[in-house]
């Protein structure tokens, strides 16, 4: 098919844009006619590339945002965002502490007082955050001396991991939909439905050990999946925007839960407050570190989370469905032209996302909560959106982001106990991190700034973030 167009492999190996100009002249003398040909044609196309600026990128807003999100250097930007958030957090710590504030009233007479007090307060706070999230060095030393039980050493990391597990699921639930070009704001509702299903199976069905847990998890995935499928099919069939429908369905799920847990047979016997029966022990997620100590809550959920992250990575990268999902997410028109069923893909994407969120809800219920309450899922669903964004909608990125958020949440408890700083500060920190990571990308996506491209023109607009 390529008469006379035997392209030169050595040319193909190198980028025409980066080839030094001098090489052309040298080559022109030495090279064979065919080689010259290939090189010259490269010049022709180069010229074409030059005169054709910024080929219009027709894509969904989600795809643009994602591109902007990825084009920023992932590691650097994330680390800087975390550092920046901690600096702002430090200011908030200083401002919110009455004793430290008082030292500022005589700042100009004795500034050292104010600065020392601020430094001590902030250092103490972040030290507590670290102790609560990862490990307390004193406890570690004590454990080696035999004066402290190992349980205390593992407690922080156990807490971190038990907060991480549901966040990894809900983060994936957002990320998968996002890669498919959909904004799944309904993670919270899907997670609630998952928790409800897991709870109902957990305390209503008398099933043997092993089977019970499996059925509960499957029920949660199914319930979340169906609850995600609804906005998916609405979008596919009627074009109803998934952001609107999923937000509304969050309320439906929340109030369904509130209603459900005060019904007879569901509400815990002898209780007047809104709490359901507790799930049978056979449906609980087994604790991983139970032999070390009863307070170590980390459970099988974190292992499931890692497996599911691996599974989603496989799904996105190596499966036919993942190919369709990503293609539809980046350019639905081209996907349709290539024969893909865009509507069906949307519906399926939402079902998969919902199932992941449902598993997240189940992880909470079967791993740590055991009984349904009105706030059983907490904000795990909404935090999933942040985790998904911070993880740049990539499975392993989501796991790392979930780990960070889990650590902040666990450390936050210690922050409150040890430094008397409210847990809300942690939420503020989490929010700030995401704002710093996501905002530049969001701004770039809204204004359609062109991200710096490899080998292309770097515009002044793309710099500075």
């Amino acid at each position: 098919m390529s008469e006379g167009h035997d392209a030169q492999p050595e040319y193909l190996a190198s980028s025409p844009d980066k080839e030094p100009a001098e090489r052309t002249e040298v080559a022109e003398e030495a090279a064979t006619q065919a080689r010259l040909d290939a090189r010259n044609r490269a010049q022709a196309t180069d010229q074409a590339a030059g005169t054709e600026p910024a080929a219009a990128q027709p894509s969904t807003f989600a795809a643009r945002f994602l591109r902007a999100l990825w084009s920023a250097n992932t590691v650097t930007v994330t680390v800087l965002a975390i550092a920046l958030a901690m600096v702002l957090g430090a200011i908030l710590i200083i401002v919110s502490d009455a004793n430290v504030r008082r030292t500022y009233s005589y700042f100009f007479t004795r500034p050292s007082d104010a600065l020392t007090a601020s430094w001590n307060k902030v250092a103490d706070a972040y030290a507590n955050l670290f102790k609560g999230a990862i490990v307390d060095p004193e406890a570690l030393a004590g454990a080696f001396n035999g004066t402290v039980r190992w349980e205390r050493v593992f407690y922080p990391i156990s807490e971190t991991l038990s907060y991480t597990a549901p966040l990894a699921f809900t983060g994936l639930a957002f990320a998968v939909a996002f890669r498919g070009g959909l904004f799944n704001i309904g993670v919270q509702g899907q997670a609630i439905m998952g928790a409800i299903a897991a709870g109902l199976v957990g305390f209503l069905l008398p099933l043997p050990v092993g089977v019970h847990l499996l059925v509960a998890l499957l029920a949660a995935a199914l319930a979340g999946g169906l609850y995600g499928y609804v906005p998916g099919i609405l979008k596919a069939r009627t074009g109803a925007h998934e952001v609107i429908t999923t937000i509304m369905l969050n309320y439906v799920a929340l109030f369904f839960l509130s209603w459900l847990i005060v019904q007879e047979g569901i509400q815990a016997a002898g209780r007047t407050d809104a709490i359901s029966e507790a799930v049978h022990p056979s449906a609980e997620l087994p604790r991983l570190l139970a032999p070390v100590g009863q307070s170590l809550r980390v459970h099988l959920g974190i292992v499931l989370a890692v497996l599911v992250v691996w599974g989603v990575a496989w799904l996105l990268g190596r499966s036919t469905f993942g190919f369709e999902l990503r293609a539809v997410g980046l350019n639905p028109e081209a996907s349709r032209t290539a024969g893909m069923n865009v509507a069906r893909t949307y519906a399926m994407v939402m079902a998969v996302a919902g199932a992941l969120a449902g598993l997240g809800g189940a992880t909470i219920l079967l791993g740590t909560a055991f009984a349904l309450t009105g706030a059983v899922v907490g904000s795990a669903g909404f935090d999933g959106l942040l985790v998904g964004l911070l993880g740049r909608a990539k499975p392993w990125g989501v796991l790392l982001a979930a780990l960070l958020f889990g650590a902040l949440r666990a450390g936050g408890n210690q922050l409150q106990v040890g430094s008397g700083i409210s847990l809300e500060l942690v939420s503020v920190l989490q929010a700030l991190i995401v704002v710093f990571v996501a905002a530049p990308a969001l701004v770039a996506a809204i204004f359609r700034l062109r991200p710096a491209q490899a080998g292309g023109l770097e515009t002044g607009m793309a710099k500075g973030w």
Partner: protein, 461 residues
């Protein structure tokens, strides 16, 4: 040119205006130095009127009333400029309702209201029909007469010869020479590409076989529900290229989309080797051996964020050897991508590079390579060389002729007269949703041009 207009900063060198060196840091600087630019992709707000778009960026405010826009003055300015330069345009029309040619006029008016002396036009004809192009060249002549300078950037040799006083050829960021418009097209092309280019396509006479695509009485609606294709009958035989010529917007897009199952058929039939395609999904039609190069490469042809390799299997990913019902075979996809990159001479860093990093011509080659990967019965190509450089055009044309020679039926839809004359064995002229006539490619150009404008001279029908 982006440097001249202040969008990019020069690394070295200087810009002289009227002999004085200047620094242009932003488009605002450029305008104040009398430089205006008409971009290839229009910078207009679709839901604004012409006047609003023209005033955007330097709004007149009524004195006394803070922030109150003086639309009347802006409107008068639009009317003045359009009259002075013969750019007829309705100042109150919404941009989104206007054809592309008129939108471009608005861009020109926008530049002219800023009192510029030098107008940079970046590929202004890439999106225009032959008539609109002719009108634009007329406008440019008028501007020249009134003392404006124009830098006209284009790939199209005929246009540059028709309008330019001096021609500078750029290749790989360097000027390779300045010539006069008397230079022949062949010489210009070889200057641009750096080697001799065949502007004509060499092809043997067609060996026409059995009918492959039979379209009869086809009626199709456009998005707004208007009849776009109105009773079209066409037959494409194995081993021939049937060209569909016509000015853009006469139903060609809808015709092709209906054939590909992308648009519902109102009435009539489309048959592939005698089997009805109506009601079949696009996937089934592609599987049946139809290759398709969509009209709008960047919207419908490619996923820009995907790698070259992924785009090369965009409609083959679930077929062996690239994948199965559930899984992809990444090794096979990469291997095949390497082969096709070489075979189709696609210029890319690697098969892992995003398609968006390729030039327009190479993006188009990716699409062509993809479609020619599987055995085809019918090849439908819509505007296959729009916005593509001369070298790639030549390559794509040869591929199409080669495909014809191995017995594929080719339906070529194009608004480029040169292209249809060069490639087609028969030419169907489409006008207002109907096929006006099917003529031989030897038909004089004037006659074809008239047919495209809807003049049938009584005889043909």
């Amino acid at each position: 040119m982006n440097v001249l207009y202040g969008l990019l900063q020069p690394d070295e060198g200087e810009i002289l205006i009227d002999g004085k060196p200047v620094r242009i840091r932003s488009p605002r600087d450029a305008i104040s130095h009398g430089i205006g630019m008409v971009h290839q992709h229009f910078m207009l707000v679709p839901v604004f009127t012409v006047t609003e778009n023209v005033m955007l960026g330097h709004e007149h405010v009524r004195p006394g009333l803070a922030g109150y826009l003086d639309r009347r003055r802006a409107r008068q300015q639009v009317v003045d400029v359009s009259q002075r330069y013969g750019l007829a345009v309705d100042p109150d029309a919404l941009i989104e309702d206007m054809p592309v040619g008129l939108q471009q006029r608005v861009e020109i008016i926008k530049a002219l209201t800023r009192d510029v002396d030098l107008l940079i036009m970046d590929e202004p004809t890439a999106v225009l029909t032959p008539q609109e192009t002719e009108d634009l060249l007329e406008v440019m002549r008028g501007l020249k007469k009134s003392g404006k300078s124009i830098v006209f950037i284009t790939h199209k040799l005929k246009e540059v010869k028709a309008i330019a006083d001096r021609i500078t050829v750029l290749r790989r960021g360097r000027s390779v020479g300045t010539t006069s418009p008397d230079t022949s097209e062949e010489e210009l092309a070889s200057l641009m590409v750096g080697r001799t280019v065949l502007l004509r396509v060499e092809k043997k006479p067609a060996r026409i076989g059995a009918p492959v695509l039979e379209v009869s009485g086809l009626a199709v609606n456009d998005e707004r529900g208007h009849r776009a294709v109105d009773g079209v009958d066409l037959t494409v035989h194995a081993g021939e290229v049937l060209g569909v010529a016509g000015v853009q917007g006469n139903g060609q897009t809808e015709l092709v989309e209906a054939i590909m199952g992308l648009r519902p058929i109102v009435s009539g039939t489309v048959k592939l080797e005698g089997r009805d395609l109506r009601g079949r999904s696009t996937k089934e039609i592609l599987r049946a051996g139809v290759g398709y190069v969509p009209e709008d490469r960047s919207v419908d042809g490619l996923v820009q964020g995907f790698t070259v390799a992924e785009n090369l299997v965009l409609n083959l990913y679930d077929q062996p050897p690239f994948g199965s019902r559930f899984t992809l075979n990444l090794n096979e996809i990469a291997k095949s991508a390497e082969q096709r990159i070489e075979q189709f001479d696609i210029r890319t860093r690697s098969h892992q590079a995003p398609a968006s990093t390729l030039s327009g011509g190479n993006q188009q080659k990716v699409i062509v390579a993809r479609e020619f990967t599987r055995p085809l019965k019918l090849f439908v190509a819509s505007q296959p060389t729009r916005g593509v450089d001369v070298g790639s055009i030549e390559f794509i044309h040869r591929q199409i002729v080669h495909e014809r020679d191995i017995g594929t039926a080719v339906l070529l839809v194009t608004s480029e007269l040169d292209e249809v004359v060069a490639l087609a064995d028969r030419i169907a002229v489409m006008y207002r949703g109907r096929i006006l006539a099917i003529v031989s490619p030897d038909t004089p150009r004037e006659e074809l041009g008239l047919l495209m404008a809807g003049v049938t001279e009584g005889a043909a029908a």
